[in-house]
């Protein structure tokens, strides 16, 4: 394996690119798998949130829900620096809120009518969204690691294309039950079929984290004055310090109505309230992101104490629109249902392309020679991580149904359940022989999916919850033939197919 490097460099461009593709894919492959899986789930972030809060059935217009939320926050928070609210839309009915009270920041879903946090305290789809680019690591390390993995991914994609002889033919090629050949065919088909999506999502993903992974353009243009850059980027957003003098928050409803007129009738998307209860309070309103691909396409700021409009901005600068469009393409908040499903499908294919690529690494080497100790460990790590991450995700859903409603720090307990379960599965994958580990852990995944759907409960007809239930059952069903095949293979006397054996 180690020997292949210099040899590949001598053997010409294509072999060299195959070598580079393998290594860039392998090194952070498990991180990429986690990012792609959670990113794919995030497409249905709102529906997952809906599934995880079954008691919250009230529906209110976006502006009314924001009014209710600010009323509750006004009465129940103390000394806040900011409330960051996302209004409900066609996909989710609760107000998503991040706010601080007495120095501690919390993220809660607020009931759209009462404005109070909902009974079932959970992060919902927000967990997968955050995990996708923060990886449960402290700022900025999670984002930096995610950026590095994305950079590797971009190189792996480009080198993967160059390594190909016949890119079009690969879409239609699949030769099952032929060991390495089958894995390679599957990997190629998954990678090539949605290739434009894979490149788009990787590139736009890097751009969303630009301020962390490539701050040098900002440094060249603005030096250390990042504040000016952010105010140039959103000229309608007012930032000012708290004065320390108390003043009640002016009624929010008229501000939202004014903002909506400013947006040309588009519904309210997000409302940020800075220094509420202070004479220096500012309310910034953004339009719904479902309206256009471009992210944050304008904003209106109001004086929180008087209700007077301070600034309004509709984004029309070509360069900034380009950036917002690239950003919005990654977030997919603009996407109607069919487009969401395409994003989901593309993401699922990329996740599977990474998984098959990781498996292919060891399958390919085993057919040439006995595996080295490192590759033996990689083989087992693959079993653990490729099953552990999805099992952890489903454990998060199951914990949501099983943990008592009045539990302290309930949302964090759900996260812990997901992480400990995933960790235990990774450990099991490392300890078990892969021929036992694969069918056993894939079986556990199928079982977990079926359990989560049953706990849904399975007879729900609410569209968002029904979607999640059907997806869980779909995964469980799709895994069954794979598990059966794996289990049968275990009975065979010669599990390894050698090249030397004539066909």
């Amino acid at each position: 394996m180690r020997g292949s490097a210099p040899a590949a460099l001598r053997d010409g461009a294509r072999q060299c690119m195959t070598w580079l593709h393998g290594w860039t894919g392998l090194l952070l492959g498990h991180v990429l798998f986690l990012m792609c899986l959670t990113g794919t789930l995030t497409v249905f972030k709102a529906e997952i949130g809906r599934w995880m809060r079954p008691e919250t059935t009230a529906i209110a217009a976006p502006a009314d829900a924001i009014v209710a939320a600010t009323r509750w926050l006004d009465e129940n928070t103390h000394g806040s620096a900011g409330w960051y609210l996302t209004a409900p839309d066609a996909h989710q009915n609760a107000v998503q809120a991040t706010y601080d009270s007495d120095g501690a920041y919390v993220t809660r879903a607020l009931d759209p009518v009462s404005g109070a946090p909902v009974a079932r305290e959970t992060l919902g789809g927000e967990f997968f969204y955050r995990l996708h680019f923060e990886l449960e690591l402290p700022y900025p390390w999670g984002r930096l690691l995610a950026s590095l993995a994305a950079m590797m991914m971009l190189v792996a994609l480009v080198t993967g294309i160059i390594a190909h002889k016949r890119i079009f033919k690969d879409i239609f090629t699949f030769r099952p039950a032929k060991g390495q050949r089958s894995w390679l065919d599957g990997h190629n088909a998954l990678g090539v079929l949605a290739l434009p999506f894979h490149i788009m999502i990787t590139f736009t993903g890097l751009v969303t984290l630009a301020s962390v992974n490539l701050p040098w353009g900002i440094a060249a243009g603005y030096g250390a004055d990042v504040t000016t850059m952010y105010s140039d980027l959103a000229p309608g957003s007012v930032t000012r310090a708290a004065t320390g003098e108390k003043a009640p928050l002016a009624p929010i409803a008229p501000m939202l109505a004014t903002a909506q007129r400013q947006f040309g009738g588009a519904p309210i998307g997000r409302v940020y309230v800075f220094n509420p209860g202070d004479t220096g309070a500012v309310v910034v309103v953004y339009p719904s992101e479902a309206q256009s691909i471009g992210y944050m396409s304008g904003e209106v700021s109001f004086d929180g104490a008087t209700g007077q409009m301070l600034k309004a901005w509709t984004e029309q600068r070509a360069g900034v629109r380009a950036y917002q469009t690239v950003y919005g393409l990654h977030m997919a908040r603009f996407a109607p249902d069919v487009t969401r499903w395409l994003y989901f499908l593309g993401g699922a294919m990329l996740t599977m392309a990474i998984a098959t690529g990781m498996v292919l690494w060891t399958v390919k080497r085993r057919e040439r020679a006995p595996l080295s100790i490192g590759n033996h460990m990689l083989e087992r790590l693959n079993v653990g991580v490729l099953t552990g991450v999805p099992i952890g995700a489903v454990a998060f859903l199951i914990a949501n149904r099983l943990l008592p409603l009045d539990m302290a720090a309930r949302a964090q307990a759900e996260v812990s359940a997901a992480l400990w379960t995933a960790g235990a599965v990774v450990l099991a994958g490392l300890l078990l022989r892969p021929t036992i580990g694969w069918p056993l852990l894939l079986g556990l995944l199928a079982l977990a999916c079926a359990c989560a759907a049953l706990l849904g409960p399975v007879w729900t007809i609410e569209p968002g919850m029904l979607t999640i239930n059907l997806m869980l059952l779909g995964v469980a069903g799709a895994l069954l033939p794979v598990i059966l095949r794996q289990a049968r293979r275990r009975d065979r006397t010669t599990p390894v197919r050698h090249r030397a054996v004539p066909a």
Binding site: I218, G221, Y323
Partner: protein
Amino acid sequence: MTTGARRSIGWRDRGNVALRVLAGTLGAYLVMALTAALLARTLPMSRVEAVTVATMIAYLVAPAVTIWAFLASGPWRALGGVAGVAGLLAIGAWAAGQPA
């Protein structure tokens, strides 16, 4: 066959790969960062537009540099090429100066 291949790797081949990896990772990032810096200062747009567009273009440069580092005819050539391009970009960005 495998053992034969293993025996043939010397420090020369390892050094070859190490230098190319250096050029393809740190070198590629350096070129990407300096491309962003140069374009942020020279694109004929408002300051914030130049910064955002420059950053987006810079991402496209990095994979090209990484691939070239492994395709260049020798490791020193790969490292020298990356250093040379980075140097030119740095001089350009420095000469352009921070926009007001």
